[in-house]
């Protein structure tokens, strides 16, 4: 009698290093289901102590090259809360537009380059480009991804690491005419975003994905009157509803041996899911009109507890991001440079943003000289690790008739559903499957 073991060493098409290790006993019972993130620890929370308040947003965006905006904006807001800094309406709008640009880039990257190859039977998007029928789709996807990047370049001076956004505002602002050029491109891109929802719904309706439903708590932000991106209250499908700065009290973490990341639970309850599916579930009524319409057209209803539907949720958010970005550009008009002004004060502050892959939490204490005394960081992927292991435990027994090769791919897809960034979680992916015969 031997175990059947699924082991993937280095999970492809995710960011960072991780592994999957699953052991299945002779009667199909799951003996072990672990997602091991071995991204090496970098000790941000330790070395930020003793650094200046304005270096915190600059440094924490370097935690993750895939969602730097989420980290940066959460940290900027936490520092501003700690020091009592108020920012202008223009700054708030520009920060939202900047973050929506990141969502467009990140969601397009995930849907077409990281997830779609699994559903369409290719090893990568580069291989997809080799198919003449798919080549135009790949080219359109790359051009939408570029548009998201161009929004970042225009507002922050670089695709990835922010050059202009600082505590109190921006060191430079884009001109109205440049913003309006972006708006024209967003308008042209909208049809492709709508087609993305249809594609997601089509591929996720193939067997066995519709059967893979598992109810768990979905946590996201929710803001009055607008879809959450840079702030709001923490809410969940199980009734959590608290101010975002209370996150350390409600979302609890513990360190797990053998894994360089921490496991997260909601206080008094169980593991939870963060990301686009949770956001759409908790905020469907706040999506743009067209985003709601296309969701209804493809039969997407909330709450949806099928993690393989996250590809649909990303498409829906792409449509919403394009609509909202155009509105933000209208409201911004012709931005004028405003010098960031504030006084350095001692204080404590916490803030949460919705990074493309889920809630990103930052906060800590700053002394009267503006030096950081303590900093707490919880990245979205570390919230999801524990929940993903529960997905394995629940879904793998339903898929035991598959060959090892197919089962391994399905396990990898369960990870890619979360669009993990393992640098964030301080880890990586690798699948290792072992069955007891």
């Amino acid at each position: 009698m031997s175990d059947r073991r699924i082991f993937v060493d280095y999970i492809a098409r995710t960011e960072g290093d991780g592994a999957i290790d699953i052991v299945i006993g002779p009667n199909g019972e799951i003996k072990k289901a672990r997602w091991e993130v071995w991204e090496p620890p970098r000790f941000f929370e330790a070395f930020l102590v003793g650094r200046k308040y304005d270096e915190i947003p600059e440094m924490v965006q370097r935690i993750c090259g895939i969602c730097p905006h989420g980290h940066h904006l959460a940290a900027v807001r936490a520092v501003e809360r700690a020091m009592g800094v108020k920012v202008s309406r223009q700054t708030t709008l520009l920060r939202e537009l900047l973050h929506y640009g990141d969502w467009i880039q990140s969601h397009t990257l995930h849907v077409y380059c990281l997830a779609a190859p699994d559903y369409l039977g290719y090893e990568s998007v580069l291989a997809m480009a080799g198919n003449e029928e798919l080549l135009p789709v790949v080219k359109q996807a790359l051009s939408l991804k570029r548009l998201g990047n161009d929004m970042s370049v225009l507002i922050q001076g670089n695709e990835i690491q922010n050059r202009t956004s600082v505590v109190g505002g921006f060191t430079a602002v884009p001109s109205g005419s440049e913003l309006r050029k972006i708006k024209e491109r967003l308008k042209e891109a909208k049809d492709f975003a709508v087609a993305t929802v249809r594609l997601g719904a089509k591929v996720a309706s193939q067997d066995p994905y519709p059967q893979l439903v598992r109810k768990c708590e979905h946590v996201s932000l929710r803001e009055e009157g607008k879809y959450p991106i840079n702030g709001g209250r923490l809410v969940s499908t199980e009734g959590l509803n608290v101010p975002d700065w209370e996150y350390p009290e409600w979302l609890i973490e513990k360190h797990v041996p053998g894994c360089n990341c921490k496991h997260a639970i909601v206080k008094g309850r169980d593991s939870f899911l963060v990301g686009p599916l949770a956001r759409v579930n908790n905020n469907f009524d706040l999506l743009s009109k067209d985003a709601q319409a296309i969701a209804k057209e493809v039969g997407f209803t909330v709450p949806d507890f099928n993690p393989f539907h996250s590809i649909i949720a990303r498409g829906i958010e792409l449509v919403h991001a394009i609509d909202t970005a155009m509105e933000l550009i209208d409201e911004l008009g012709d931005p004028v440079y405003e010098e960031p002004k504030y006084e350095i004060k001692a204080g404590e502050g916490y803030a949460v943003t919705e990074a493309a892959r889920g809630i990103c939490c930052h906060g800590g204490r700053i002394d009267k000289d503006g030096v950081c005394q303590k900093w707490d960081i919880v990245a979205p992927t570390s919230r999801n690790v524990y929940n993903l292991e529960k997905d394995f435990e629940y879904f793998v027994p339903k898929l035991l008739n598959l060959s090892d090769e197919e089962l391994t791919l399905k396990c990898e897809m369960m990870i890619r559903n979360y669009d993990p960034c393992q640098s964030c979680a301080t880890h990586s992916i690798k699948v290792n499957l072992r069955r007891e015969a």
Partner: protein, 255 residues
């Protein structure tokens, strides 16, 4: 000539430099067509063992496992490229080297179960192995990446600039942030190639590309004191993206 075999590896870092390869959207398919990508876990499921013609390494070395892998990668790659600030100079992960805490104190601050952690001071990859080319910056500059790949295809040395960011600021006719606004800009000691991205947007250079050739960091450190920075402020400036380098160490030790 056969297409060069290319590989991408990642150590302690944010993956932003690898993402910046995928951020070449308008020419991505052309670049991919001109080379043979044999190993790129972030983008592909099918990856192959070496040897490779060019290996790009992102990230600093902070663990025994990374060090072992780096040595193997060096043997497998004809040309080894350090990609981005972490691989070139230690980058943000190297800030921990100067935190004033011991490794154990840092571990205790972040984790509760310490027995499984294996981490040591963050170093650039050339601390351990020979490196053939450097793509500096945080993140690496995409255009320099393209220059490097096209140079390799032509069999020539890429032309990279090692003068300071100040030169690029002057070419852009920017007002100097130090002279006109009294801001603590690192541009005069930092290697050019970014097109003076930050100062052009009103943000002082933070030195993410590491030292320019023949830079005088000690003199700049004294200028910072004259501008009103505290001694700790100056040390923080020089111990950020390239604090490990002898050049920036001179700045940190001059005050």
């Amino acid at each position: 000539m056969a297409k060069p075999k290319i590989a991408f590896f990642k150590f302690s870092s944010c993956a932003g430099c690898q993402l910046n390869v995928l951020n070449l959207e308008p020419i991505l398919l052309d670049i991919v067509g001109a080379v043979d990508i044999r190993y790129f876990v972030m983008a592909k499921r099918e990856n192959f063992e070496g040897p490779y013609d060019i290996g790009f390494v992102e990230g600093a070395v902070t663990s025994p496992r990374e060090l072992m892998e780096l040595k193997k990668i060096r043997e497998e790659c004809s040309i080894l490229v350090a990609q981005g600030a972490c691989a070139c100079h230690g980058g943000i992960p190297s800030v921990k080297n100067f935190s004033g805490m011991t490794q154990k104190e840092m571990e205790q601050r972040v984790y509760t179960e310490l027995w499984d952690l294996k981490s040591f001071p963050a170093q650039a990859i050339d601390y351990y192995v020979k490196v053939d080319a450097y793509l500096k910056g945080c993140p690496m500059d995409k255009d320099e990446f393209v220059t490097l790949v096209t140079s390799a295809l032509k069999g020539i040395n890429p032309l990279f600039r090692y003068h300071s960011v100040c030169n690029e600021c002057k070419l852009k006719e920017n007002n100097c942030l130090v002279l006109t606004k009294g801001k603590a800009c690192m541009g005069s000691v930092t290697a050019a190639g970014c097109g003076a991205q930050c100062p052009s947007l009103g943000r002082p250079c933070e030195g993410c590309r590491g030292p320019a050739s023949d830079c005088n960091a000690a003199s700049l450190a004294k200028t910072f004191i004259d501008l009103g920075l505290s001694r700790d402020d100056v040390v923080r400036k020089f111990r950020k993206y390239a604090g490990n380098t002898p050049e920036f160490s001179k700045g940190a030790e001059a005050v």
